[in-house]
């Protein structure tokens, strides 16, 4: 693979659901590249297609038409997806939905190793779990024998990130990872996300409706509206010189401490 091959490359990528009059195009003719070790945010309102695009990148959806390449090769549409998922992993919005409530946390973290062809020896697995927990500021011994429902939302979201530390993928797709945690825990989650990127030199695709958050974490932003990428660029370009009215709308909608927002009559 040549050094400058992008991590992802999409040409006229389209994903539609339904047929005839009920056909709904969730991702419409998207063409883009995402470079290795880049953080790109997909930003837009609910229903803009950002999560479907994320699922396409994760091989959880198949394109209806167009091309999607990972490291220069089309993403396979059939066969065992595990080889792909060793490279491309995800954290989702709802951490409680990501864990089985009937198994201990440790057992579930250990299950991560099933993604590898060869499981490391028992001792090494335990060590790697401990290190991953410490990396997200959780105390391994305090979690021994604990079940997911015994933890807070913020702790659970950090557990999801610990999974990523164990799996060490090349790419992380983070779909609204902070929308269900307390506003005050958000800063912590983002901090660990940045740490992951630095330590594992990962590519990150960050999905959010909050353009302010995207501005804060990304190298580049893609603004989506009704399935189309209506604008892409650096955070400063997109937020300070927006060319699309939809970008302007997203910017106006954030409640900022410093400027007027909704006012009473």
């Amino acid at each position: 693979m040549p050094a400058d091959t992008p991590c992802f490359e999409a040409r006229n990528l389209t994903r539609a659901f339904g047929h005839g009059a009920r056909r709904k195009v969730a991702v419409d003719d998207a063409t883009f590249t995402i470079a290795e070790r880049e953080i790109v945010s997909l930003v837009g309102q609910s229903g803009c297609g950002k999560s479907v695009l994320a699922k396409l990148l994760l091989r959880l959806e198949k394109p209806s038409s167009g091309e999607l390449l990972y490291q220069g090769r089309p993403i396979a549409e059939s066969g065992d997806p595990r080889a792909y998922w060793r490279h491309v992993q995800a954290v989702f919005q709802d951490p409680y939905a990501a864990f089985n409530q009937f198994f201990t946390i440790r057992a579930q973290l250990k299950a991560c190793f099933r993604l590898f062809d060869q499981r490391p020896p028992e001792r090494e697995m335990e060590d790697r779990i401990d290190q991953a927990l410490l990396a997200v500021n959780l105390r391994p011994r305090e979690l021994d024998g604990k079940y997911p429902f015994e933890l807070s939302g913020g702790q659970m979201q950090r557990l999801l990130l610990a999974r990523i530390f164990i799996l060490r993928p090349r790419v992380l797709i983070a779909d609204e990872p902070t929308s269900m945690v307390d506003a005050c825990s958000r800063a912590g989650i983002l901090e660990y996300l940045m740490k992951l990127k630095q330590e594992l030199s990962m590519t990150i695709v960050f999905v959010t409706h909050d353009i302010g958050l995207a501005y804060y974490v990304s190298d580049r932003l893609f603004i989506l509206h009704e399935g189309r990428i209506v604008e892409q660029g650096t955070p400063d370009d997109v937020t300070q010189r927006p060319t699309s009215p939809f970008t302007r709308q997203l910017l106006d909608d954030i409640p900022s401490v410093h400027r007027p927002w909704v006012t009473r009559a």
């Binding site: 309102q45 609910s46 229903g47 807070s152 939302g153 913020g154 307390d182 506003a183 005050c184 825990s185 958000r186 800063a187 912590g188 983002l190 901090e191 409706h209 909050d210 353009i211 302010g212 958050l213 501005y215 804060y216 955070p235 400063d236 937020t239 300070q240 709308q249 997203l250 910017l251 909608d253 954030i254 409640p255 900022s256 401490v257 410093h258 007027p260 927002w261 909704v262 006012t263 009473r264 009559a265």
Partner: protein
């Protein structure tokens, strides 16, 4: 002006099956004036939602009243029989917009039927046709497309619209006070704006008189509330005007909370948000001294021993004996 809602040294506790007692609300007092929006801010688990149960008079095991009172227009609702609370307090004196509002509409019934139920529950003899006129009038007045929305099933509506429908239904009986518990935290920023606009309309149209707005998003409260109470470990640690609390917080927790917010907007990238280390104390154990001391960046040696009381500092009330 007489306060519309008076909370007087309210203390509420949970009693678990194993006999453990958790003091979730521990001495909360405030007053709500007619026309006012009071914001309540704090981390998950600080007692915000338990406080709401108290304000609504919904004290059901395992939640119990320890002491104190909640008075709406002078009447202590915590000492009324539950049937009376349901009949004359809920919906009329006080109504709540729940946190999980998106899941609170029965998916098998049309919005029209859900709304009709609310009116019939409080007025069994109401004329069916009159109810329909009333629903159309009200939904139009709060800016919803009455016919389309009333005839829809909840699943046919987008999330933001569903939330506005919930608000429309819960305020049908013109409650004096509305309690909004994280009404917009499950929505995207654009729908959030529409929800807040609707809440403002309810006040401006005189449909409701006052509001308590609960959230952990301080930037949102900046635009919504006139006064803000910051809660920590079951107590109010600072209460003052929005300007005072947001821009000039005197309690270290208020400042830490503000500092942990991503003021994520163009040009602000340089200011790095700082997460508050550690976790709030376990309210199942007795706590002495300042409850924030172990996490406080400016704690001093006397903080862990000294019991903290709310006192006036720079025109607002603060629970910290070091605050100036």
């Amino acid at each position: 002006m007489a306060a519309i809602l008076e909370v007087d040294d309210l203390r509420l506790h949970y009693l678990t099956r194993l006999g453990k007692r958790v003091q979730a609300v521990d001495g909360v007092s405030f007053q709500l004036q007619p026309g006012e929006i009071l914001g309540i801010a704090g981390e998950s688990g600080c007692g915000k939602t338990t406080l709401v149960s108290g304000l609504m008079g919904l004290l059901m095991p395992p939640l119990h009243l320890t002491s104190g009172a909640v008075r709406i227009a002078g009447r202590d609702i915590l000492r009324l029989p539950p049937a009376e609370v349901r009949r004359s307090v809920l919906g009329r004196d006080i109504a709540m917009i729940p946190q999980g509002a998106l899941n609170s509409l029965n998916p098998t019934r049309k919005v029209r039927d859900l709304a009709t139920d609310v009116i019939l529950a409080h007025d069994e003899g109401a004329d069916r046709r009159a109810i329909q006129d009333r629903l159309r009038e009200r939904f139009t007045r709060i800016g919803l497309e009455a016919d389309a929305v009333l005839n829809a099933y909840p699943v046919q509506l987008p999330a933001g619209m569903k939330q506005r429908v919930v608000i429309g239904i819960s305020t049908l009986l013109n409650p004096r006070i509305v309690i909004a518990d994280e009404p917009s935290s499950a929505l995207d920023v654009s729908s959030q704006k529409a929800v807040i606009q609707l809440l403002f309309n309810l006040l401006d149209e005189g449909i409701v008189s006052s509001m308590v707005f609960i959230t952990h998003e301080l930037p949102l409260l900046r635009h919504v509330a006139g006064r803000i109470a910051v809660m920590y470990a079951g107590q109010i640690v600072e209460i003052g005007t929005t300007e005072q609390v947001i821009f000039d917080g005197r309690q270290p927790y208020t400042r830490a909370l503000m500092g942990s917010m991503l003021s994520a907007e163009p040009g602000q990238k340089s200011r790095k948000p700082v997460a508050i280390e550690g976790a709030p104390p376990n309210l199942g154990e007795p706590i002495s001294g300042c409850r924030f001391a172990v996490r406080c960046p400016v704690a001093q040696s006397d903080c862990a021993q000294r019991e903290q009381v709310l006192r006036e500092v720079a025109g607002r009330h603060v629970r910290c004996h070091h605050a100036r």
